[in-house]
Every structure is written in structure tokens, then in C-alpha cells.
Amino acid sequence: MGLLEAIILAVLAASTPLLIAATGELVAERAGVLNLGVEGMMIVGAACGFGGAYISGSIIVGAISGILAGAALSLIFAMMTLGLAVNQVATGLALTILGIGLSGLIGSRFVGEKITPAPHLHIPGLTDIPFVGRILFGEDAFVYLSLALVVAVWLFLYRTRAGLVLRAIGDNHVSAHALGYPVLRIRMLAVMFGGACAGLAGAYLPLAYTPFFIPGMTAGRGWIALALVVFSSWRPARLVVGAYLFGAVTILQLHAQGAGFGIPSQFMSALPYLATVIVLVLISRARTGGSTAPAALRTVFVPDR
């Protein structure tokens, strides 16, 4: 296995949890809801995902447990911000704190245990193709499912009526409401989709990346996912670019250190974030009437009954 191939494989794995979590958050934000609790939902997804897989012995059960846990936590957020019209920013931050505590509690009995991680795919013939085989057909299934997820979300948002309604609600909930669309119900579903994705992204860490559970193992990836949504200017295709770019810089800086390029490692560690800032600036400068933030993002909607 060549060095370049090894680097690409590492980048794929490192980017996957970011991509999954960011895709979910993108849908929620497109519906006009900013959920800052991604980190909290991710870590609870990690704890429950690991627990599910450890008890059942099945990675699929683990992934489903993670999804359900993330969705359940986001339901609390939905009830607060949609049902009771509480401030979204404050509730999201509270959700993160709650999630970190909750995951420690749920995960405490699983600490120190280990599971067999999700297997790397092996399709006879295809996986064995030199260089591209391992990359295109040889990672764990989550890597390819995450890309399928982005395509599905893109199709949903831009090629279905329901997607159009969701975007309309995110841009102008009053008009959507006047047209008879169930604003709060759709927002709730969008938030739960976001939660489910965050839960799956969290579960990916103990199921495939580092197959054990330790409190705090998401280590800020939820926040990066949030930044990626802004980075993508709320477009799924750009999200893929952003997630892989971020993953690539993260992995490359480690390789640069190992190769002894002599650049201070503190600077290298900051590089992924620096790259995000630079791209944000470029996007905002190059914007020609393209998609910006959903107009109704973060605003509270109370229907007149």
C-alpha cells in the first residue's frame, strides 16, 4: 500500500463522521432551526451505539441504537424550541451539556470494553484493483453510506415537493403557514433527522473508528460539523467538499509532522480551522446571489391558532 493511498484511506475515515453529522444539521437548518446540540447528540449516539453493539454483538444494532438515541435527544430540543418556543441557541448549548453528562452515565458500564469494529468491505475483483480498489470499495460501509446519504438529501431538497416545502419553511415560515403547511410538524421532523444523523455520526466513532467507548470521545467533532454547514453555505454538494477538505488537512498535518517538515505542530493543528476561515472568506467574496443562510433560521415561530 503506497503512502498516498494510505493517506486517502485515512482521510475518508476521518471525514465520514463530520459529513454525516453535518448533513443532518443542514436539513434542520434548511427548515429554519439552528440546533447547536450536535456535539451532545453525537456523544450520546456514541455511548448508545457502542452499548447496542456490545450487548447485541451486531454493528447494525449499534448503528440503529445510535440513530435512535440521537433522534430521542433531538426530540427534547424540538419540544423546547418548537413546542415552547424557547431560544434555540440557549437550548442547543444546554443540549450539548446534557448530552455530555448523559453519555458518561450511559457509557460508564461500557468503559474498558471493546468490540469488533465494522468490517472493511471486500468485493472480490473490485477491491483488489490496484490503488483505487481499496479506496472505492475497501473502506467500511459507513463511508459509502454517508455519501449516499448526501445524495439522498440533495435529491430530497431539490427534486421533491416535500423538500421544496421544507426549504420554504426555512425561508419564510409565515407564508408557508399561511399556505397551510404544518410548519412546526415539518420542523420537528427535520430536527429529528438532524438528531438521527448526529447519533449515527457519533456511533461511527466507537463502531468503526476507534472501537471502544470513552467519555468525551467525540472531542469537538460536533462543533466542526456545525461549522461545515455554514462553510457549505447550506448546500449538500459543498458539504462533501468541506468535510473532505477538513479531513484532508487534519490527516496531512499529522503526516507533515511525522515527516519532520519543521513547522511548529501547534500551527499545524490549527490549520484545519484556518482553512475553514479562509474558505468562508472566499465564499462570501465570490457569492453571486447564491444560496445564503435560510432566512428564517433561528427565528421562533408561534402559529396563530
Binding site: Y209, T210, P211, L254, G258
Partner: protein
Amino acid sequence: MRKLLIATTAVILTAGASLFGASAAEKLKVGFIYLGPVGDLGWTYQHDLGRLAMVKEFGDKVETTFLENVSEGPDSERSIEQLARAGNKLIFTTSFGYMEPTLKVAKKYPNVHFEHATGYKRDKNMSTYSGRFYEGRYIQGQIAAKMSKSGVLGYIGSFPIPEVISGINATMIGAQTVNPNIKIKIIWANSWFDPGKEADAAKALLDQGADIIMQHTDSPAPMQIASERGKLAFGQDSEMIKFGPKAQLTSIMDNWAPYYIARVKAELEGTWKSEDEWGGLKSKMVVMAPYTNMPDDVKKAAEETETAITEGKLFPFKCPVIDQEGKEVECKGGDHLADGQVLSMNFYVKGIDDKIPGK
């Protein structure tokens, strides 16, 4: 109904308080401040094992409280003070970043005794304690050099602080006794704990040709990656063999139990004094996990080195110590570097083809 409830609660609370008050008077209350969760499998986990062993030793003579996930820096002051105010007479603060806050609270509560891990500031009622982890690193360096086929070691560092740098140097000096041309690749995670990043760093090191993984970060992720790739690795802080049954060569384990028992005993007997304890293999504050996954001759050599260090016959930083520029480091400790030089180490030894970040 509601009034009744309140009244009942009040009665229960008062009764409870008086009960606890009575029992607390007889018990020595001991507090602990932890950096991570007790289940981190590394640093904090080992401190909690020490606490539990101490509780087992003294039974109902002591009552312990711990606060976990206390972030370093000024915020920890509140947590430390909270323990002092709650009547704890002996308080252990178990991370470097609690140094200044502990000192401040110690000045405020002269009748409470404080114990700070890995720091260097003391007071009448504040001791310090730490482990000579570099002794274990020297042994690991020798094992690594013997076991490496590529002659390249992979080292994952947390932050470039003296404790970590002295560990890298001790590893290299140990390795050079076996193979003078040994190479080391160093990647800084700039975090004590980020399993994903630690795993990525381990992958990068292996992909670049290292075949032994050594870490000074706290999660078992690098061990797992080495195990997955069929390579060898050393654990950190605790026994990590579960995560790499065919990979772990040994592990430097922090063993705080004897110290915690000794200090609580002194407190109970009224003989507690402010001290500076820097224990190594000899005092068993640093313990090596069983030597595994290596041929018998390597194991025997490792055991001999361990014995020599324990008996004070071998010093990892034996003079002359040569730095990267080929200059001899001033020898302040007789035939080896003085403790102060190790505690403030800020240079790489000869043979490390890298620079300390930010230097």
C-alpha cells in the same frame, strides 16, 4: 398537602444532617480533584484506583469525595475551595494545571492539607508528588530498538512540556544503547485526549514506516491501531493489553495507591508534613506492566534494566548527555543530570532528527 411535604422534607434533611454531622466528626474527609472522567482508562482512572485502594486500607476511618472533569486553570479554584469548605482535611489535586489554584486555596485554608500532582510549587500545607515516568521510557526505548525491524520508532506526544520531552529523550537514549542509528518520528496531537486524532497519528506514523508505536497521550486508540495493523506498541498510564493482546510490549503504569495510603496514614496520625515526592520504579509509583509479545532474551534484558534502575545502579540521564547540536549538557547531579534539569528539560538529545515545536 404541599406544606406537609415541605415540612416532612425539612425534618428528614435536619435528621440527615445531624446524622452525617455525627459520623463526619470521627471520619477523616479526603477530597480529590480529577481532570478527566474516572472512566478515562488512563490518567484519572489510575488516580481513582489509588483512591479506592486507600479507602480499602482505612475502611470507615476515612470518607472520600471526588470531583471529576474539572478543567484546569482558574475555574478549578472553585472546585478545590468547595472541597475545602465541605470539611475535607486532605485534598489531592491531580493535574499540572491545578498548581496555581491549589496554591491560592491552600493560603486561604491553612488548616487543610493539600497535595498537588506533577507540579513544582509548595507551601507549608501543600505538598507535591509525581512519578519518574522517564525511567520506564528508558526501558521501553531499549525494548523498542530490539523489536523494531525498520529501525524507526513512532512517538505520539501530547504537548511539548518537559515531562513529555524528557520521556522522548529517555526513550531515545535507551534505544541508542541497542541501536545507535535508531530513528524516531514524533507527532504532536496537541491534546491529552482525543481518541480519533490519536488513532490518526498512529496510522500516519505506521504509514511513514515506523513499526513500533509509543504514546504520551491518554487513550488506548494508538494501541488498537497498532494491533489492527499487526504492529507493536506500548501502553500509557494503565494496563492496555486488552486493546492489543498481540501488540502491547509493556506499559508504564502510574501507581498512586502506596502514596495515597502513606499520606492519609500520616494525616490520621498527625504527622503530615509538606514534602516533595518524586517516585519512580524504586518506590513503585511507576510500575511496568508485564513484558509481553517479545522473545525471552529481550524480556530478560528489560527486566535487568528495570532492576538496575530500581537499585540505583543505572540512571537514564547518565552523563554525558549530548544535545542535538552535539554539545554536552552540563552535569549538575554528579554522574547524572540533576532532578531539576529533568523537570525543566527543553532540548532534544542527539539522534532526534526533529525540532521541539515552537522552539
